[in-house]
Amino acid sequence: MTLILEPSLRAVLDLSLDLLIPANPARDIPSAGALGVADFVLRTAQAAPADAAHMAQILQALQALDGPPTPDALRAVEQAMPEAFQTLLRLTYMGYYSRPDMREKVGVASWPVHPKGYDVPRESSALMDALTAPVRARGRIYRDAVVMTGDLS
């Protein structure tokens, strides 16, 4: 299934994605529609027949809206076609957070985690001793299990 959108419907989809993941202007975090996540959503959906069918349902519902999408209108779509809406939501979240710049906005490094990774210093022996002291002070907490069972092999 090929998902080709008229510009007007694409605009409605963008506005809908803006409602799914809104912007946070105070932290300069863009919304999903403004970021162009719709490209990812459409491209990814087309690669999986079930997702493409769900997206076709969603697009049809968006096209039938009276006026620009609103949270209430999207909730109505969600209630009317929950499975298709879940697909839209899943692909939107995937498209948005697969972007390194958006990962960074929520505190996770933008770089691929290998090979650089993160610097996490190991706790000193003194700190670990202090932290575990109460646990060690209680003594052992496991049960012995010496049971005469004979030859079980």
Partner: protein
């Protein structure tokens, strides 16, 4: 096509098959391993990509039904509340496991005698202890000696950092007077024997591109291949064949990378395909001698399936805890509620595991192993900006008890890409497990508040994780009685004396810990028993 007969044929190149092969090296027998997946180089692991999180929902999903790769077999999970997860390739599920490495405890091997449930194992902790130690040396294990929840042992490498998140939770455990300890991990805390230490990437499930995690692709297989063990990849075994005259296994039929069916003869056959794959293979190996599946005269093949049902509780703290930094599942572990206490309303117990936080996409989609996206709209923004960075979570890891109705069978219509019947899993939570998870949820909530969480996020309803089927245990259990068990106390099938099973399917009980350390210790023990009994092996 018929190949030369080998001395030992191992099916599966994951945790147990590799350990067993290593144990048999000194015999100088000709050893061949057939693995249905490829041998992936670490350069193909997705954590080197900008969009690495996407792989978790595609070719590196832990769920074979999501991956759907040629080497994967589908699993019918319509009648299960937990989906089995795995990986097929050299290393098996140690490619995408999280490296958490706790041992089972002495009481885990004696649940009938101590607690009146399930059955005692034919082996005990003391017998396995030297094999745990040997396996730890072969794998490279980091941890802090002196854990009072175990008999003495000492991991070779210093513990991994527990980080800000682990320290915060540790303070909470100390405030309540509960046990906790830094997690043992099959992850290198420093460079070791030619392998690089962990870089705290936090994506252990996507393969470890640093080679720090102790997948057998990094640990055993380099040793095995340089010692001459033959490894054939992309070879999927269809059935184990039996000589009707002797009743012994004669070898296997397998589909090779050419798509053709081949026969491989062997003097001794070892199954190491995990707790789903091994019963599937046995049930697919029907013959006149074994019309209900190979080694299944007891009707126990596929039964008593145990997972470790999981649920999670998260706390929101006042400051970022940087939980995405560090090995994904290995920070600290509490075993305060591990041993039976009759006052709790259930038998046996559970662990409280502090993993770290997951990455943003996975959190937004509901968390690792859960398909339940977080809310959209203004709530989404608030959760991702104010909650996600400040989270710490505890996972309640419950001991499952063996129940005959929880089982693996063959699906009547579903097949893999070679047309081999696929497994069907029928599994439901027992009442004991439910009570345990509820108790654990309450205790995890109590702990998070004691550690300073300003609020705790309740999962609500029946919140057992969907993709929690990492640990597939019990489906070909050990035991002294051929009427009630599939293999004897050292992994030999009661019904077929040159057929051995070394994966998690031989577990009698599950404990409440990640099982790979025990699976491999058992495989080494089975190997040692084979060597010890070599002159009378088939008697």
């Amino acid at each position: 096509m018929t190949d030369d007969t080998v001395d030992v044929l191992i099916v599966g190149a994951g945790a147990s098959g590799a350990a067993l092969a290593w144990s048999l090296l000194e015999t100088r027998m000709r050893i061949l391993c057939l693995e249905q997946g490829p041998h992936l180089p670490d350069s193909q692991f997705p954590s080197r990509r900008d969009d690495y999180e996407l792989a978790r929902y595609a070719e590196f999903s832990c769920d074979p039904n999501v991956r759907g790769l040629q080497q994967d077999y589908p699993i019918n999970v319509d009648d299960s509340c937990i989906a089995p997860v795995n990986f097929n390739g050299v290393g098996g599920s140690t490619i995408n496991f999280l490296g958490h490495w706790p041992r089972m405890k002495p009481s885990d091997f004696r649940t009938r005698s101590l607690d009146g449930v399930a059955a005692d194992w034919p082996v005990d902790y003391a017998t396995l202890a030297p094999f745990y130690d040997q396996n730890d040396r072969n794998t490279g294990v980091s941890g802090l000696p002196g854990n009072p929840a175990y008999p003495d042992y000492a991991p070779e490498l210093p513990p991994l950092p527990i980080g800000k998140l682990g320290q915060t939770l540790a303070a909470g455990f100390n405030a309540l007077g509960w046990h906790w300890w830094p997690s043992d991990a099959a992850i290198l805390s420093r460079d070791h024997e030619g392998r690089s230490k962990c870089v705290n990437a936090g994506t252990c499930d996507l393969g470890c591109a640093a080679g720090a995690k102790g997948g057998t692709n990094f640990t055993y297989w380099p040793m095995l291949q340089s010692a001459g063990v033959e490894l054939r990849t992309q070879c999927r075994v269809r059935e184990v064949r039996v000589d009707p005259a002797t009743g012994l296994a004669s070898g296997v039929l397998y589909y090779g990378p050419d798509g053709q069916l081949h026969e491989q003869k062997a003097e001794l056959v070892v199954l190491a395909c995990n707790g789903i794959g091994t019963p599937r293979l046995l049930l697919n190996s029907k013959s006149q001698l074994f019309p209900d599946g190979l080694a299944n005269r007891s009707d126990q093949v596929g039964r008593n399936l145990m997972f470790h049902p999981l649920t999670g509780v998260s706390g929101v703290f006042d400051a970022p805890l940087e939980g995405h930094k560090g090995p994904m599942a290995c920070s600290i572990l509490s075993q305060e509620f591990y041993e039976t206490d009759p006052g709790r309303g259930f038998v046996r117990g559970y662990g409280l595991h502090s993993g770290r936080s997951t990455t943003p996409m996975t959190y937004a989609l509901g968390g690792y192993g859960i398909d339940r996206p977080i809310p959209w709209g203004a709530a989404h923004r608030e959760i991702m900006d104010e909650v996600y960075p400040n989270l710490a979570s505890l996972t309640v890891v419950a001991e499952d008890l063996p129940e005959a109705h929880n089982r693996v069978t063959l699906d009547p219509t579903l097949t893999d890409s070679d047309g081999i019947p696929a497994p069907k899993v029928s599994y439901r939570l027992g009442d004991n497990t439910r009570a345990m998870l509820a108790h654990g949820t309450d205790r995890a909530t109590e702990l998070l508040l004691a550690a300073g969480a300003r609020r705790v996020l309740a999962k609500g309803e029946d919140a057992v994780w969907w993709r929690a089927g990492w640990h597939q245990l019990g489906t070909c259990r050990m035991g002294p009685d051929p009427e009630t068990s599939v293999v004897n106390g050292w992994g030999r099938c009661h019904d077929v004396k040159n057929l051995f099973i070394v994966d998690g399917s031989v577990f009698v009980t599950a404990g409440a810990v990640n099982p790979t350390s025990t699976i491999q210790a058992l495989a080494l023990y089975v190997g040692d028993s084979i060597k010890t009994n070599i002159s009378t092996l088939f008697d």
